[in-house]
């Protein structure tokens, strides 16, 4: 099955990507406004989707909007703010059941786009500014969300490692900005910023479902044909930085049962790098799967962890290893992890490991084609990274990766920062 998008450019510069497919039971729409990630704008960007969703001129409060959506058979409108590389993207998604299954004479594509357009282009205004009530309310919610990072200890440890590792870089900015950023924001300034964003920044609209090309073009054209600046701004690319010469090692004590270890590496391989596929295979062999070295050695053989894995931030070229362990086992776990990395550098990789990892990666890529939201995020990743790989291209790239390329990758990978969240001394440790 072909998985290509039909691509169009609206007269105002908005890009439309439409994928006709009969596979799904839904009509899925995604709308993304791209901005650069930086510390001045982070809180403004994070606040906008939440404020917009809470009320617009047609649906002036959340309750009214939710009732409208429920009557459209529980259409799901959700908003988000995505940090990907040094990009900060405002995300709006809408999903409805396809009319075909509802036995009613409905037009859920048009209805969905009309609502999305109302939320984005016709917000609730008071004296030329966003509603003061909603801005205040959402500021308070986002401040709570920032504090709530503490609640999931694995995520907390990961974010702390990244923040320390990338201090002074744009990537070091947290997805929701800082608590103190929110004090300064007022409804007028926020609205002025939003107008500028909508007029000048790149916007992508995705539509996936069993729909006719003309009806999609007509509906999107009708609801998103607002006027924008002639020239879109160019957003800076994500920058790569070399690892620090001396590894930064950090520890934090907390009243917890399990220690969380996070190791942050710089790969010096960006999204468009010719070693991109080799990096995917490298991280896969190391810790991307249950057959990977880290899982086999640290968990299955030594029994030290329940979870241990390596993950990539492909735009920024970072690799993180994360594990939950007993604090007392920390050195042993570190030693086993380091041995796996040095084995990769020395090319100690069996044919089975190499082949199984390639197959696993290909399976993951093909599986993404069975989910509308994954199809959208796959393409969006390309827009953010500045190059749209096709599935076929990535699969071919992965299959061709050689042992030599993997050892080249291994040589480039440098440990930068380590972070250990550990049980407080004298606290409720039940370590043996």
């Amino acid at each position: 099955m072909k998985t290509d998008y039909l691509q169009y450019s609206l007269p105002n510069g908005i890009k439309l990507h439409f994928m006709p497919t009969q596979k799904f039971k839904t009509i899925s729409i995604g709308l993304f406004i791209h901005q650069e990630l930086n510390s001045e704008l982070a809180a403004l960007n994070a606040l906008l989707p939440s404020v917009l969703e809470k009320g617009c001129r047609l649906y002036p409060d959340y309750l009214t909007l939710q009732r409208k959506l429920e009557n459209l058979f529980g259409a799901d409108l959700s908003t988000d703010i995505i940090k990907s590389g040094e990009r900060h993207t405002l995300a709006f998604s809408m999903e409805t059941a396809h009319d075909r299954y509802l036995g009613e004479n409905s037009n859920l594509l048009r209805e969905s786009l009309a609502i999305l357009s109302a939320v984005l282009t016709d917000p609730l205004l008071e004296n030329g500014a966003f509603s003061e009530k909603y801005v205040k309310q959402e500021k308070s919610q986002l401040v709570k969300d920032i504090k709530a990072l503490l609640n999931d200890k694995a995520t907390y440890a990961t974010e702390r490692c990244l923040a320390e590792m990338c201090t002074g870089e744009r990537f070091g900015v947290f997805r929701l900005g800082k608590i103190e950023d929110y004090d300064k924001i007022n409804p007028t300034e926020l609205y002025q910023y939003y107008k500028q964003l909508l007029a000048c920044n790149p916007v992508d609209i995705y539509v996936v479902g069993d729909l006719n090309k003309q009806e999609v073009l007509d509906a999107v054209g009708r609801f998103f044909n607002f006027s924008r600046d002639k020239k879109e701004i160019n957003l800076p690319a994500t920058e790569q930085k070399a690892a620090r010469t001396e590894v930064l090692s950090l520890e934090e004590q907390m009243s917890v049962n399990q220690a969380k270890l996070v190791l942050g590496y710089r790969t010096a391989i960006g999204f468009k790098d010719e070693l991109h596929c080799a990096l995917l295979v490298y991280s896969g062999i190391l810790g991307g799967f249950p057959h990977s070295k880290l899982f086999m050695k640290v968990r299955e053989e030594a029994g030290l962890a329940y979870y241990i894995h390596s993950r990539l931030e492909r735009h920024k070229g970072l690799m993180l290893i994360a594990a939950g362990i007993n604090y007392a086992d920390q050195q042993q776990a570190r030693a086993i992890i380091e041995l796996q990395l040095s084995d990769l550098t020395e090319g100690k990789i069996s044919d089975t490991e190499l082949e199984n990892t390639k197959r696993g990666l290909v399976n993951q890529l093909l599986s993404r084609q069975d989910s509308p939201s994954q199809m959208i995020s796959f393409h969006l990743d390309g827009k953010i990274g500045g190059y749209n790989y096709s599935f076929e291209q990535l699969i071919e790239g992965i299959e061709k990766v050689s042992l030599t390329e993997i050892t080249t990758v291994a040589e480039r990978i440098k440990l930068d920062t380590t972070f250990l969240l550990r049980p407080a001394e004298g606290g409720e440790q039940s370590d043996d």
Binding site: L69, F73, N257, G303, A305, Y307
Partner: protein, 433 residues
């Protein structure tokens, strides 16, 4: 080999499901889904964390289990004489996993190539137990870490602290993974004893979904099971302690490192044990409507609480019903748990007094139908839920027709019966330090 099957059709979803009986008495379901790259298969047994006391007819003596055996067994099946099962799936490009709930253990894989071979690996490894002193001991370390991870998890703790308060005796009050102490009592003999009881095909079922030919999947399954030469198994008798209708305690509190208090209110359903099959599912749908009308994002209460800064968008309510226990849980993070609880209990009383209107009923019914259809995009959702319902003698495909049948008066009657203040408990996580 062509085998007779029963065709289960769903007009709303426009899906056709093939149901086969495979010797010795296992149900196999195949849902063809054209155009999908992925094939997804699950192999499930009716053995979960609550099945901790049982015998096989004609035995008289019951076997008692320490907490966490079903989950432990799930972990241990991934290792056999040939080594690690993950490697076998990996060689075929398949992705494998498993999970244990209160009532079942499920083994699964998904693949985009070489389905027949991966399917054989799934069927084989689940049917080949291999437990030794040494492998059991190593697993105690791994699961010990899993337990510690959950011990630091506020949502997991608030949930189990609530079940421990609602229930006095029923094993649903015990953590699925058990405790570090309870799993220390697990031996290879005990695992074999459970395996030989609950992993007989007559206590299991398979669900496969993807772009596949049902007859071929049947043949693969039938040949695989035939080669194992099963003897018939006596009826499994499970024993559950009598559960009083009163809750054990009104309130549970625990301190953890969290940014804000976390509170769940729970209600124990004491009527659910008399229901089965379609009636159980009817109750579930009715309760979903009750809770959505009370606490949903389109209703007054949610919006007032949000505006008063008493909840965030993760606030929600859920109902769970199995054949011998059931509960409602409502809650989320809040700066003021006492006020939030008052408002929740107040809203329930108000509904009992003021009722609900046709418009609300109809709107929420449409929402449930649309949400149901949307979820059928996911092969995992279909397979996992179909068997979970099947194990309760109900049918996931019945939802649209049940949704048509239910009436507004039933919703109100159930709210009064099931959200009874006498049977509620509150679980609180408070910020440490």
């Amino acid at each position: 080999m062509t085998e007779l099957f029963k065709l289960i059709e769903n007009k709303t979803l426009q899906e056709k499901l093939y149901h086969f009986r495979v010797d010795p008495g296992m149900d196999l379901y195949v849902l063809p889904r054209s155009g999908y790259r992925k094939k997804y298969a699950i192999f499930s047994t009716r053995f979960g964390s609550i099945d901790n006391k049982f015998r096989i007819e004609p035995e008289q003596q019951f076997t008692d289990l320490p907490d966490g055996v079903a989950h432990f067994l799930e972990h241990k099946l991934f290792e056999d004489k040939l080594g690690n099962v993950f490697d076998r799936f990996a060689a075929l490009g398949a992705s494998a996993n498993a999970y244990t709930s209160f009532t079942q253990t499920t083994y699964l894989f998904s693949c985009t190539d070489r389905f027949a071979e991966s399917f054989k690996v799934l069927l084989d490894f689940v049917q080949e137990p291999y437990f030794t002193e040494q492998t059991v001991q190593k697993e105690q370390g791994i699961i010990g870490q899993e337990i510690k991870m959950y011990d630091d998890h506020p949502h997991w703790r608030v949930f189990f602290n609530l079940l421990e308060s609602l229930y006095q005796a029923h094993p649903v009050r015990n953590d699925i993974a058990g405790t570090v102490e309870s799993i220390a009592r697990i031996t290879p003999e005990l695992l074999y004893r459970c395996y030989n009881t609950f992993y007989h095909p007559s206590n299991m079922a398979v669900f496969v979904v993807g772009d596949l030919n049902p007859q071929q999947v049947y043949s693969l399954t039938a040949e695989n099971l035939a080669a194992k030469n099963y003897s018939p198994l006596g009826t499994i008798v499970r024993s559950f302690p009598a559960e009083p209708s009163e809750v054990l305690k009104r309130r549970a509190e625990q301190s953890l490192v969290v940014s804000e208090p976390l509170v769940f209110i729970g209600y124990k359903d004491i009527f659910v044990e008399h229901l089965e099959g379609r009636e159980l599912m009817r109750r579930e749908i009715l309760m979903e409507l009750v809770l959505d009308i009370l606490f949903g994002t389109s209703e007054r209460l949610y919006n007032d609480l949000y505006h008063d800064d008493l909840i965030d968008e993760n606030f929600g309510a859920e109902y769970t019903a199995e054949s011998n226990y059931g509960y409602v849980m409502i809650g989320g993070e809040t700066k003021d748990p006492e006020r939030l609880c008052e408002r929740i209990i107040g809203a329930i009383e108000a509904m009992n007094n003021e009722g609900i209107n046709e418009e609300q009923f109809e709107r929420h019914r449409r929402k449930i139908l649309g949400g149901y259809i949307r979820r059928f995009n996911s092969l995992e959702f279909i397979a996992n839920n179909f068997l979970a319902y099947r194990f309760r003698e109900t049918d996931l495909f019945e939802l649209p027709s049940l949704l048509q049948e239910i009436r507004l008066e039933e919703v109100l009657a159930l709210a009064a019966e099931n959200l009874e203040t006498q049977r509620h408990a509150v679980s609180l996580i408070l910020p440490a330090g």
